[in-house]
Structure formats: structure tokens, C-alpha cells
């Protein structure tokens, strides 16, 4: 597969990563990198090891071997808050917003490690411009919102940490098609505003449409990588790995 890519500096690099839950190996010898300004997508079916990879990047799991480097610094093995501090924020799978807090309080917590009040205010405005629906619901308890709105909040909350790298774990999960489009359009806008994105998706075709580069995982192994457009256009690949039509 061709590996022509943007010629920008590597931001996140995962090398030879192996992660195991006890005796069960979930991810084996994974290599991937995210370059500045890219949307990189990590796709694969259920149980392929996508979430395990993300959890290891965000410090919730420790790798068995291999390492993760972010902007030249090894971050594997560091606790979660250190990784957020380094500039990686995540919108987790299943949204996991704080249900009994208002939308505003959720956003406020997203900026937990931010000190500059002026900058927090500006980021908040930016997020509310990206998701006007959140502005309408600003005082509502997040748990009473619809799934789509909660997903917007989860992405917006991660944005509040002013990440250099934004990780989105299954943002389309359980959403009506109209809303999936809304979310994906917004992801492109976020990239345009200068944030690098690592997008993990089961909805491979949708992800490939907006991504620059893609990695395909299958049962813990890297099966395939390449330019997203090429992967999407190749019918053989689509049939074999993406459940394409």
C-alpha cells in the first residue's frame, strides 16, 4: 500500500505497541503515527483493539511492550491527567458526559487543567459556535439531553482542554444518520481550526470520507494502512475489510 502522506512533523507515534489484559493480548506490535494537522482514522470491527489502543494512549492502560511518543516525549505509562496536560484530550466511547451536571458545567470541567480564564472563555465560545445546539441547552442537565446532543457535548468538552491532538472514540455510535453527518462535518471544521484529530470508528466508510490517512485493525493486528481516499475507493479493500457495499 502506498504511504504518501502530508509532509508535516509527526505528533503522535505508537511503536511496537503490545497491550494485554492478563493472558489475553488485545493489541500486538502496533505501529502508527499521527502527523500535525491530519485527521487519522483507526478503523476495524468490534474487538479489533481500537479502544484498547486509545485507552493506552490516554494512560488508562499500561502497555506490555512498545512505546507511545507525543511530540518527542514518551507518554506511555504516565497517568491520565499527565497525558491531558501534554495536550491529548479524548471524547470517550459512549460519550460519558457528566449526566447530573449542566452543559456549561461539563464544558467547564473539560477545561479543568486550563488556567487562563480569557482563553477558556474564547474556547467556550468557539465550541458553542461549532455546536449551536449546546448553546441552546447551556443550562440543561446533560443527562436529559438526546444521544446526539450528548455526543456534541462530549466532543465539545474534549475541545475545552485545548488539545493539540483530539481523540474521538466512536463519535457516530448510536446516532441517527442526519446527526452522524452533523458530527462529521464538525470534525472537519475542528481540523480546519488547527487541531489534529485521531478518529476511531466502526463506521469505516464515513470515517474514510473525512480522514487523510487510515489504519485498519483486525484482531489486534494492523492489517492495512494508507491514504484514506485510496482505501475508500478500492472495492476489493472495501469488501474485505470495511464491510463495504
Amino acid at each position: 500500500m502506498s504511504t504518501e502522506r502530508k509532509n508535516s512533523p509527526v505528533m503522535l507515534s505508537v511503536s511496537d505497541l503490545t497491550v494485554a489484559y492478563g493472558a489475553i493480548t488485545a493489541v500486538q506490535n502496533l505501529n502508527l503515527e499521527v502527523r500535525q494537522g491530519e485527521i487519522v482514522t483507526l478503523i476495524g470491527s468490534n474487538g479489533a483493539g481500537k479502544s484498547t489502543t486509545l485507552r493506552t494512549i490516554s494512560g488508562l492502560l499500561r502497555p506490555k511492550s512498545g512505546s507511545i511518543t507525543f511530540e518527542g516525549e514518551v507518554i506511555s505509562g504516565k497517568p491520565g491527567h499527565e497525558i491531558v496536560k501534554a495536550g491529548i484530550c479524548q471524547s470517550p466511547e459512549g460519550r460519558r458526559i457528566f449526566p447530573r451536571m449542566s452543559v456549561d458545567e461539563n464544558l467547564e470541567l473539560g477545561a479543568f487543567l486550563q488556567k487562563d480564564q480569557q482563553l477558556i472563555k474564547e474556547t467556550r465560545e468557539h465550541v458553542l459556535d461549532l455546536f449551536p445546539r449546546l448553546r441552546e441547552r447551556i443550562d440543561q442537565k446533560a443527562g436529559t439531553m438526546s444521544g446526539g446532543e450528548q455526543q456534541m457535548l462530549a466532543v465539545g468538552r474534549a475541545m475545552m482542554g485545548q488539545p493539540k491532538l483530539l481523540i474521538l472514540d466512536e463519535p457516530s455510535m448510536g446516532l441517527a444518520p442526519v446527526l452522524v453527518d452533523v458530527i462529521f462535518e464538525t470534525i472537519e471544521k475542528i481540523r480546519e481550526s488547527g487541531t489534529t484529530i485521531l478518529l476511531v470508528e466502526q463506521n469505516a466508510l464515513a470515517a474514510l470520507r473525512i480522514a487523510d490517512y487510515a489504519y485498519v485493525l483486525e484482531s489486534g493486528h494492523l492489517k492495512l494502512e494508507g491514504e484514506a481516499k485510496k482505501l475508500a475507493d478500492d472495492p476489493a479493500i472495501a469488501a474485505a475489510y470495511l464491510g463495504g457495499h
Binding site: L60, R96, L109, G110, F112, R133, S146, G148, E149, L179
Partner: protein, 404 residues
């Protein structure tokens, strides 16, 4: 519109905080004034009535329970960590008072602005305020010691470990009269007398109950203040985030261990200060008072009152403490004398608390006075994705009135 409600919300809670604070202050001062100025000259019947229903000892005890319930509320209500062994901190605080304000260690003779009984200078006699601080610090350290290895556990296991801790500490106290020949706790006989409080040249003996009540009320008041301040601060938000969703909190950059340990330490401090206060209230430290039931009573105060809400916990602590130390006995006496039976009502206290807890869990899980955020979510309608999608269609020209 959103902006106005946003501005109104904090002002509203601030207002209600102010009202509650004034209410608390008024009640405390009223109790003090009645007992200080009215009761001594009141007719005998009035005296008996107040003594039976609102004795100053029971009022002081209520204040100490408020202090401790608010401490546990930090752990359970704010941070969402179940602690079934809170009595351990109470016991540790009590023994700090026993060790540092009595003749327990009569092999030494230390007096630092303390108040040894006349003619009995042996033992360690430190100033009450200093002992309060030391008791708080000592239990905070124990909170961290217990928390550091256990807080990595998931909630159910954490509850079990705290339960064990709550059993172990009192057992050590019961059996601590001969630790390699050293009498640490005086065993089941307990440590007594604990020195009278002496502040700024004033001695508060067993009969200055009104003044002592004011001291304990001040401690409770301080705890109310700290609880409110902590909740609105950065640490309070981190606790709430952990309570709501630990994993998500970690993804926001909340340092999990440090934040949880802080809740344990603050909760333990309140327990320790409560222990010191209680030792001076009853003038002694007795191992058998520190049993599992105390942990459960304090937890019930938090749950019944409304986890997380300072004023709810205050009401819960007041009610349960009063029913436990006065109400049951008095109502029991009335019922006994009316029916001519001889039922031991106080022995039913756990039956009553148990039934009460079950009823609360069935019909009012959020407590008497729930935290605003809990109350709100129980009364707000849920929006479905259908409504959201129709909203999107609305943009494209089709009109719907699903919600507005």
C-alpha cells in the same frame, strides 16, 4: 434567555445558603441564650421539660454529629466513595484527646497551656485547640494511609476495606492496654477523665454546658463553611466529576488518586476533630462506644438528609442524632406510661433506621433535601433523538413542535 438563567442559578444557591446559615446561627444562639439566661431562673417544670427533650448534652452531641456527618459527606456525597468505617476516624480522634488531655500516660508530666485536674499533674495535658488540630492532622494522616492502597479498588471492594478498618481500629483500642507492656488505651475501662476545656483562661467544666455547646456549634459551623467553600472550588468540582464518572474525570485531567485521597483526608479530619470534641463532651474515651453502628448512623444521616447537600446533611444529622439520643427514650417513656407496658424503645433504633432507609430508597432516593443537581434531573424531561432530528428537519423548512 440561557444567559439570564445561568446568572440566576448561582445567585439562587447563594441566597439559599445565606438563609440556611442565618437559620443555623439563630437556632444555635437561641439554644445558647435560653439555656444560659432563661433556664437557670425558670420554674422547675420548664427545667425538667428542657432537660428531658432538649438537654444541652444532647444538643452538643448533635453539633458533633453534624460535624462528622459533613465530614463523611465529603467522602460519600461529594466524591461518591462509600465509606463504611467512618467510626475509625472518630475513635482515633477520641484517643488523641485521651492521650494528650489526660493522666493516661502518668509516667510523663507534660503541660502545654493545658488544664490538668487540680493536684494531678501527671500525664500529657495540651491545650484544647492544639489537640483539635493534632487530632485532625493525625486522622488525616490515617485517612491517607488507609486510602493510598485501597482507593484503587472499585467501589464495592473499597466499602469492604473501610468496613474492615472500622472494625480493626476499635478492636485495637479495646485490646490496647498492654502492647508489649505499654498501656496505650487502657482497654475496656477507657481513658477518663479527659481534661476540661480551658480557653483563654476560662475553664469549661462539666456544668458549663451552655458554653461548651457554643464551642461545639462553632466547630459544626466551621465545617459547614468549609464544606460550602470546598464544593464551589476546584477540588469540589474534581470530586463531583469523579462521583459522576471516574473515567471521564480522568480524561478531563482530574488526577484521580490525589483527588480521592484529598476527600479521604478532609473527611477523616472532620471525624478526628469530632472525636476530640466528643471526648471533651463526655469527659472520657470509651472503646465500646466506637462500634460499627456509629458508622451506619453517620452514613444514614448523609443518605437521609440528601447526599452532597450540606444543608440536607445538617437536617439529617440533627434529626437522627436527636431521635437516637433523646427522641426514642422520651417517646418511649410516653408510650410506656400511657399503655402501662415496659418496652425498651431505644433498643429498636436500628429497626427504625433500617425501615426508614428502606422507605427512603423506595420513595425518595435523593434524600429529604437533595442536592439541586439531583433534584433537577429527576424532574426534567428527556429529549429524544427523534426530537433532535425533527429539529434538523425544521431547519430545512418542515415545522414541528416537539419541544419548546
Amino acid at each position: 434567555m440561557a444567559e439570564t438563567t445561568k446568572a440566576a442559578a448561582p445567585a439562587h444557591t447563594e441566597n439559599s445558603n445565606k438563609k440556611w446559615a442565618i437559620g443555623f446561627l439563630t437556632v444555635v444562639l437561641a439554644i445558647y441564650a435560653i439555656n444560659k439566661f432563661y433556664i437557670p431562673t425558670a420554674p422547675a417544670q420548664v427545667k425538667t421539660f428542657f432537660n428531658a427533650w432538649f438537654s444541652l448534652t444532647s444538643m452538643g452531641e448533635i453539633m458533633i454529629y453534624i460535624l462528622m456527618a459533613l465530614g463523611l459527606n465529603i467522602v460519600v456525597g461529594y466524591a461518591g466513595l462509600l465509606d463504611l468505617g467512618y467510626v475509625a476516624f472518630w475513635a482515633l480522634g477520641g484517643y488523641v484527646a485521651g492521650w494528650l488531655m489526660s493522666g493516661q500516660f502518668d509516667q510523663w508530666q507534660i503541660n502545654f497551656f493545658g488544664n490538668p485536674p487540680a493536684g494531678l499533674p501527671n500525664g500529657i495535658h495540651l491545650n484544647f485547640l492544639l489537640v483539635l488540630v493534632l487530632g485532625g492532622v493525625f486522622t488525616a494522616i490515617w485517612g491517607v494511609i488507609i486510602g493510598a492502597p485501597t482507593l484503587r479498588l472499585k467501589s464495592d471492594y473499597l466499602a469492604l476495606v473501610t468496613l474492615g478498618f472500622g472494625e480493626i481500629i476499635p478492636q485495637i483500642m479495646v485490646n490496647g492496654e498492654d502492647i508489649g507492656g505499654f498501656n496505650l488505651t487502657n482497654g475496656t475501662k477507657g481513658i477518663n477523665p479527659v481534661d476540661n476545656i480551658k480557653l483563654f483562661g476560662h475553664e469549661f467544666g462539666p456544668f458549663q454546658l451552655a458554653d461548651k455547646f457554643l464551642i461545639y456549634a462553632s466547630l459544626a459551623g466551621l465545617m459547614i463553611f468549609f464544606s460550602l467553600r470546598l464544593r464551589d472550588g476546584r477540588l469540589g468540582r474534581a470530586w463531583l466529576a469523579i462521583r459522576e464518572d471516574e473515567l471521564a474525570a480522568s480524561m478531563m485531567g482530574v488526577p484521580l488518586m490525589r483527588t480521592k485521597l484529598a476527600s479521604y483526608a478532609v473527611g477523616a479530619t472532620a471525624g478526628g476533630v469530632g472525636g476530640v470534641a466528643f471526648a471533651t463532651l463526655i469527659g472520657g474515651v470509651y472503646a465500646e462506644r466506637f462500634n460499627f453502628q456509629v458508622s451506619i448512623i453517620i452514613l444514614s444521616m448523609v443518605v437521609l438528609g440528601g447526599m452532597g447537600n450540606v444543608w440536607g446533611v445538617l437536617v439529617g444529622a440533627t434529626l437522627l442524632a436527636w431521635v437516637n439520643n433523646t427522641g426514642l427514650v422520651q417517646f418511649g417513656n410516653i408510650i410506656n406510661s400511657a399503655t402501662g407496658k415496659n418496652i425498651d424503645f431505644p433498643s429498636f433504633n436500628f429497626l427504625i433506621f433500617g425501615v426508614l432507609l428502606i422507605l427512603m430508597m423506595l420513595y425518595r432516593r435523593e434524600g429529604f433535601l437533595p442536592e439541586a443537581r439531583v433534584r433537577l434531573i429527576m424532574h426534567e424531561e428527556e429529549f429524544s433523538d427523534v426530537a433532535v432530528v425533527t429539529d434538523d428537519i425544521e431547519v430545512e423548512g418542515v415545522h414541528h413542535h416537539e419541544h419548546n
